[in-house]
Symmetry: C3
Subunit: 208 residues, 3 copies
């Protein structure tokens, strides 16, 4: 189980790195830029969570594998695209949803180990899932996608609530983990399939 | 006194969250985006200060109330604006100036508890007051307002200097706190009233 | 030797602050904005490194001199430019390359003191060198220059590898430091002289 979780985590890192590398490509960055954006997308959310929780050492500081996986994924993306095969969009979205599910559950779990209130644990789950993507968009000089696109963070939010609710009921660990991950995955896939978005808040731009 | 200070702090959080929510509305973000921008505006400055000072746990990690107040303030803003009553601009600016005053003094106070030099305490006061707004503007893809608008951070700077100066003189706590807060408030309100701005540094954009 | 290193560090802070102030001037910021951008450019990389490594207190928290040097450098830049003498571009680029070399070596050194793997030490060296500039560009609402311009971070990367390689061979401290700094300096100056850039990764902007 632990082993499976660790592998899922690395898979999430790889997928997020691919989305970062693709975004960097859309901005015509050079190879260094591609690797930085990919790595920040993959590891930024977990790093921010660890800093705020004072959870040291930050995961990738002592374990090379995270950086290596992110670097290989970004190089792989560039090579793949150079060979003119487009990345299969649907496959990538599904993989990204899976990564999101893993990161959310890990974020909640780490937070709960620090004896924080439930609301903080939920925020840490969402932050672990989405903050890397926010940093990616800020570095690429875009308004973060998740602030105005179809449901994304909301999937994390519901998944985090399910996870923590089940934990309170002391269900077996494999059960709360699986159900919470499935929740994130299903909401996200439904949002992609039917283009479900949250209502938006429009305000006229006044001269200040 | 402690109680009053804590209430002022929560009031500052609420006001800053409102300014964040309004900015998110100007960028047509969805409800999740509104809540994130509001929360980051309200809690970002204090969080950055705590991380740099290694002052753990970060305030809102153990106390739900900060997040709850920020969330309620952002939801309240959306509902209020939906009911087509515009937010009274002047009232908001005054409230924001009050929040700025509270945050500046809190920032200095926390820094002084960590036995840092005076210059660092001043910086921490200013940072607590303005960094949340800077993060808000970066996430909204704007050049931070405080870098080119009427006097804002300078009010914090003078207030922080007054606070620390009085502290050195060992004045009673209620006195240095009140005088420093009044200083920030008055400078900021004067700047709004008469559109006072710092001189700007213009440099032609050369091709690099 | 220690003394020389400390002086080089302060020199790096001053030079980076000047580049920050000039960028702020190109965005017509006010004096407060100029000082913030200058300070973030000069101290941002080292601060981020210290936070991630949990290396407290962050350098400038206990030692006023870093902030003072950054502030004086930014005020000096504004005065210099106001007197209509343009900043000598070439001199600035060379000075910046020197600062980059110092920061890279310091970053690696601090990381190695925390018993991290070699790959992490390399990343910390590069991060110390370039993250301040990335923050400067994000705050100025530009895509970070180092993601799409001539070789910059790559110079840090090679210098960091050289430094750590020599360290493994237990060469004298003055030797590994000097050789690594020279490596960064020469690669960077060559890149400026002959406009050497990394290959870029172009991807058509598809509608998502």
């Amino acid at each position: 189980m632990e082993q499976l979780f660790y592998l899922s985590d690395l898979f999430g890192v790889a997928v997020f790195a691919v989305t970062g590398a693709l975004m960097a490509g859309r901005k015509s960055m050079d190879l260094f830029g591609v690797m930085v954006i990919a790595t920040v997308t993959a590891l930024g959310g977990g790093t921010l969570r660890d800093l705020i929780l004072d959870n040291h050492p930050v995961s990738w500081i002592r374990n090379d594998l995270y950086i290596v996986v992110a670097a290989l994924a970004s190089i792989g993306t560039v090579l793949w695209v150079r060979m003119t095969r487009p990345i299969p969009e649907t496959g990538l979205l599904v993989a990204d949803a899976f990564g999101l599910a893993v990161f959310t559950v890990i974020g909640c779990e780490v937070a709960l180990q620090h004896q924080v209130p439930v609301s903080t644990a939920v925020i840490m789950g969402v932050m672990t899932g989405v903050a890397g993507g926010v940093m990616r968009d800020v570095l690429c000089n875009d308004i973060p996608l998740i602030f105005h696109k179809e449901i994304y963070a909301t999937a994390c939010l519901v998944g985090a609530l399910v996870f923590i609710g089940l934990r309170e009921l002391s269900t077996p660990h494999w059960l709360d983990t699986s159900v919470a991950m499935l929740t994130v995955l299903l909401i996200r896939l439904a949002a992609i399939r039917w283009h479900i978005a949250l209502p938006r808040f429009h305000l006229l731009n006044r001269n200040e």
